[in-house]
Symmetry: C2
Subunit: 172 residues, 2 copies
């Protein structure tokens, strides 16, 4: 598949949002958990203070599908490690099911890695659900290591209500 | 302990770096893994493009210790979730051993949460090593959930060499 890998534009946000919702269904996440809207995605990616980077995989014009030729994307942001400095955090790497097995995911993550190295990142991090064995194998083939298995790291989160309760207690 | 919780300044970076090294020893991380230097920490936190937020816990003047009164810190950055929007990612929360059990860690994370909510974050994320049962208990008491235990999420990483190999393959 001769896809083009290119930066996401504000016009692509509609397709990205559709993909995000497809993924949420796949992970059996209740619709209420998907809080981003088209406006949020546009503002957060292409407003005054961009908060994420995104690349899309697009089919050549003669092969376009109903979504306008975009068949996958990678969405990432930067985190900071006190030990390693700036890191790339890949939040989402997605290729539509019917276009898998054609190295599109690999080319998307290569592009994200290229942009990350150019911005001085010393590490790439990503979370993968244990039942996604294909994705785990894919990332291992790209040189990834499972730090949860190897070193016992767990991901904790505070949802919005817990975060707000915590914030409300700070008096300073 | 009547600590002051305040934003870290460029002058505090020296103490923060010392703490970072103390933590690395505690985690048995080889010194080579700690890549940040004083210059990097100053530039990345207080240069033209700040990459992390940091708050410190400081003793009142009459109780200062040899590190100049700073006994703990919290270091965080923002990540972006395609489902939830902007998140706070806490990379490091540290209180010197002799000052623990006095709610200082709690006050530091409350302050980080307050700043995160003010910046529109809908979630807080943090990684904790499984053998740090005290920290896991602490975070659970703040309303945290272990997503690795609950939903099976694993943390993968690509170290710098793997990231650079991946980046070098991207032709676009």
């Amino acid at each position: 598949m001769n896809c083009i890998i290119r930066p996401c534009t504000v016009k692509d946000c509609k397709v990205i949002l559709q993909f995000i919702k497809e993924i949420a269904v796949h992970y059996r996440v209740p619709p209420i958990e998907v809080k981003v809207t088209l406006e949020v995605l546009r503002e957060d990616g292409f407003g005054a203070q961009p908060q994420y980077d995104c690349y899309v995989a697009e089919l050549p014009p003669q092969q376009t599908n109903k979504e306008g030729g975009i068949v996958g994307y990678v969405l990432s942001s930067f985190t900071y490690s006190a030990w390693k400095g700036r890191n790339l955090y890949v939040d989402n790497l997605y290729v539509q099911p019917q276009f898998r097995g054609q190295q599109i995911g690999k080319r998307l993550i290569e592009k994200a890695a290229q942009a990350a190295v150019a911005k001085g990142c010393g590490q790439l991090r990503m979370h993968i659900a244990k039942w996604k064995t294909n994705e785990m194998g894919f990332l291992a083939r790209q040189g990834g290591q499972d730090l949860t298995a190897k070193e016992g790291w767990s991901l904790f989160h505070l949802k919005e209500d817990a975060l707000r309760r915590l914030a409300a207690r700070s008096k300073f």
